[in-house]
Amino acid sequence: MKTNNILKTGLIVAAALACLSAALPRFDIKNISPSEMVDIGKKVVKAVQPMKEADEIALGRELAARLAGSFGVWKDQAWTDEVNVIGRVLVPYSDRPNIKYRFAIMNTDDVNAYSAPGGYIFISKGLLKQLDSEAELAGVLAHEIAHVANKDIVREVQNSNVWKAGASVATAASDMGGMEQQLLNDLTNASWDYLVVKGLSKADELKADQDGAKYEQKLGYDPYGIYNFVVKLQPAENSPDQKLKTFIGTHPKPSTRVNELKKYYDQQGWSPGSLPEDAEQFKSFKQKHPIP
């Protein structure tokens, strides 16, 4: 019993020292003053605590500005209204209905959609051209809302060394309530890599497909909306053209997504066409407001 206790204590001390040395490489416990101790404590707290909502929104704004700057924003009133009304009415059926989502259209023919932390969601003009029904549009928007609700980007950056290393920078800033600009820039760079260059994990993408379908079904659209969109990308999965290259490169293969969605629909007992798609209405809207 006594040996066990000594062993436990030893393990705890070792773990503490390991945490300490990982978080604070230059920490010298013998020469530390109480005020330094408080500062170090703050840094450790910042490094292990979940990102605050205000910080998430600040990061999302930076990423949104970069997405808007990189692709441009197509400010067509009719399409902006269409995307916003469908996006916004989905929000109460999402797993995170308590933040303010914003939707915009990227001025590019590339087929893609992005969601930045804090609810900044972008869909491309090229993707809109591929859609044949409101349920498909709702499916894509719901998928992006699910990424925000699941905090996929936030989780990735929190696990990154940028967040952990940035703790000391953040706490050095006089404003303890928010992030220091340098940390924000570093996190934006890391997030950009996840969002635009590498893509999120396969598991996160497949989960967003399922959650998106769930939100869509709760709202009352055919949950096969996202499925019908992804099916259209299948022929291009092995040799995508320029417009689809990034999308295919940053998402699981369309055939994998289709198969996983099928399994999910079966589990839920949903069959295609059981709820409206509003294809005719969407078709006439597209004819009335052609996408250049």
Partner: protein
């Protein structure tokens, strides 16, 4: 005094992962147990609560506008430094009236107006 503080510090350090782990778990559970609106009034209450939230305090990019225009993602390296704050502000200031959303939902028989 110094020893006591050091001891306290180590104890806090050891308890921190437990505390933050619980906090994060409870936050996660909070997100996952969000109830979908069951009726018209709860739908609009949730809708209002999300979209009437105050705008974030803008910490960066005030007045800075650099628009790259239409580009592909192939030239990613070049794109990294381009920011368009004007469009972010436009996106944040976009207004959609509740009446428009209601009309949309009613016309499609969606949400609280499902058959």
């Amino acid at each position: 005094m110094k020893k006591a503080l050091t001891g306290l510090f180590i104890a806090a350090l050891l308890l921190l992962p437990v505390f933050t782990g619980l906090q994060s778990l409870s936050a996660q559970e909070k997100t996952k147990t969000q109830q979908s609106p069951q009726d018209e009034s709860s739908f609009w209450s949730m809708f209002r609560s999300a979209f009437s939230r105050p705008e974030p305090v803008q910490k960066s990019g005030k007045g800075v506008t650099q628009v790259a225009g239409v580009r592909g993602v192939g030239d990613d390296a070049k794109l990294k430094g381009k920011y368009d704050w004007e469009s972010v502000n436009w996106m944040e200031n976009y207004q959609l009236s509740e009446a428009t959303a209601k009309q949309f939902l009613e016309s499609r028989k969606l949400g609280p107006y499902k058959k």
